[in-house]
Symmetry: C2
């Protein structure tokens, strides 16, 4: 069996970064034994420190789990991992190191796993991809950010042959990006993608008891108390996070949208956009009437409200809106904080007497997001020639 | 960009076979231009005739669509496709030809696309895989059939490095096999898979109006009239088709079940198992009482009946049964003839405070099944080094 040495530089050691490192550390030996994919933990960095493997063999995966814990890189048990001790973080030096290890290894390849949410890190993808360093990331900044930069990175990757994989940027580990890519590669044409892409917004509308006359503000404040929202709930309710997902889904559907192109219906009242959080929360009940009316109007038609992102790939548009759905629609039956998305294509639509393709499940969480990142590493290994099941 | 010549031998020209040929014919030029995947239509066969490309360049994809039509291979416009004329079908000669074309082409590879439902064709996979010929198929016979044979084929493929891909064998083109494979490759552990794997059985229970006292036999006979069942509805209601899907899902979940291991609850009354179809249909109403009681008992608990296949990967068991689900369960809200399946893993379960991963959509239909087959061809191209998005 062919062995494919993949020298991995992990950047970012927050919840998702740590979960990814632990998953990879625990499973790398089995991937090597069964598929010939030799994932070598060549470097790890947080915003302050990094640790670089002194040998091209990488750090001992068995030791990674124990070393990582909940600590910053500076406090890792470096001795168990490699001969190096943590030094100040320096992405240039990190990439140089993993590339050197890859070049020193027959059939070696290098990949950066960006588990940060930093735009500064995302901004570097272009130069990395250009030198053949693959990029795997759940960081949405680049694939939902500036369109010209996105196109440049994509073109650079096409030119160098490096892969840029980001399943974790939409629906966490759910197979969204890979499904859209496979559909389009095989000649299908995406007509639309719509979904509930925010766990927070899913939770709010799934739990709001409209029939009992529960005020919407009560749902928002209870969700915040339970830890379901951002510290400032407006960061969820303004729809910008959903708009980013719409941009990602659009671009994977063949529609090169910019974030500004997305028509966003914010659920933050205009009067409360600029005040502080405390005032927002205090005054929120003043606006319960408007949304309650919308919900009542929907209920009168046997429908429910859901906060959805939509890509109309035929018109080339994207939107974020509060929309009505029949009680029998899959979006109406959603529970908890699940994400759901519905893909309509030439094949998956009434055009071919078919129904859409629907994917549902958790759209957030460190373990499933890390699983999406690790899944991308496995796919990268497969396209590099390792015998990883696809 | 690297070019990957893939010499494809298509076997089977029924609805799915024709749809696959047309999809590939229409989209091959674009795959070559954008991804370097050079799908060459090297051979096509039905049970009686075959046509072999005389040149390693394959047959003209533009001409395939026009040639295929609804006709048998013997009637294809062979002149437009290649210099050869149709000859008697001979799988040995066909495989020999595509292998010769692959060997004559730098970086060439060969793949058989088996669009039949023949066990005789499936029985040949082992020898093809052994000589490095990849196999892509929606034919369930081998991956749900004899366990020793399945294991032998899998071992042979692991040994030779050939890929055996069969996304189309469960849920048509829905991303089921690929999702299970990626989850497990990345170290997740499947706990259970349960689903409604039969479009027919989905339709029967989704449309049965239990509340109105509709007899179940009426639903079955109406479904047959509308073309939703096999000519003999017992072929759906005996649960054997679902049992095959359970075996496939189990094996992709790491549980090597044989068909006989699946505990199947048939919905065909024992008294009607051996009579002819006419008698079955005439006497079916005699048995309405039993299932109506079950449905009423479920309804009394606020539940509905669904005919499901289940894999318990922790116990290593599989079953097909009429089970009760809460009205809020995703299976209860299913519509039409959709398939649905729910995957629980270590990461996608309460073990990690998560919900399961759910995939829903059409589980049958020539276009979506052919799309699943074509998707596998794209993945094969990617792992062979073509720049196909994954």
């Amino acid at each position: 069996m062919k062995t494919v040495p993949l020298h991995v530089g992990f950047v970012g050691t927050g919840l998702i970064g740590k979960a990814t490192l632990k998953q990879v550390g625990a499973h790398a030996p089995s991937l090597l034994a069964t598929g010939g994919l030799d994932l070598r933990i060549a470097a790890c960095a947080d915003s302050k420190h990094m640790i670089l493997a002194s040998s091209a063999d990488g750090m001992n995966p068995d030791a990674v789990d124990a070393a990582v814990g909940d600590r910053a890189v500076a406090e890792w048990d470096a001795g168990a991992l490699a001969a190096e001790t943590p030094v100040a973080a320096d992405l240039d030096a990190l990439v140089e190191k993993i590339v050197a290890h890859a070049r020193a290894t027959p059939d070696g390849a290098a990949v950066i796993v960006d588990n940060t949410s930093s735009d500064a890190v995302a901004d570097r993808y272009g130069e990395w991809l250009a030198q053949g360093v693959h990029v795997v990331t759940p960081n949405k900044k680049a694939n939902s950010g500036d369109l010209q930069r996105f196109r440049r990175f994509r073109a650079v990757a096409d030119e160098s042959g490096a892969r840029w994989l980001y399943e974790g940027t939409i629906g966490a580990g759910l197979p969204v990006v890979s499904t859209l890519r496979t559909l389009r590669a095989s000649g299908d044409r995406v007509r639309s993608v719509q979904g509930i892409f925010s766990g927070t917004m899913s939770f709010l509308f799934n739990t709001w008891d409209v029939g009992a006359g529960q005020p919407f503000s009560e749902v928002v404040l209870a969700a915040k108390k339970a830890g379901y929202t951002e510290p400032d709930p407006r960061d969820d309710l303004n729809g910008l996070d959903v708009a980013r997902k719409v941009v990602i889904a659009a671009r994977e559907s063949g529609v090169d949208l910019a974030l500004d192109d997305v028509d966003v219906q914010s659920l933050v009242p205009a009067e409360l956009e600029d005040c502080d959080v405390a005032e927002y929360e205090r005054r929120l009940p003043e606006f319960d009437g408007v949304i309650a009316e919308q919900a009542a109007a929907a209920a009168a038609e046997g429908k429910v409200l859901r906060f959805v992102g939509k890509v109309d790939a035929e018109k080339g548009t994207g939107s974020v809106e509060l929309a009505k759905f029949d009680a029998s629609h899959p979006f109406a039956g959603l529970q908890g904080a699940d994400n759901i998305l519905e893909i309509s294509t030439a094949r998956y639509s009434d055009e071919m007497s078919s129904t859409p393709l629907i994917i549902r499940g958790p759209g957030a969480g460190a373990q499933v997001t890390a699983g999406g990142v690790f899944g991308d590493l496995c796919k990268l290994g497969a396209v590099l020639g390792a015998r990883v099941p696809v």
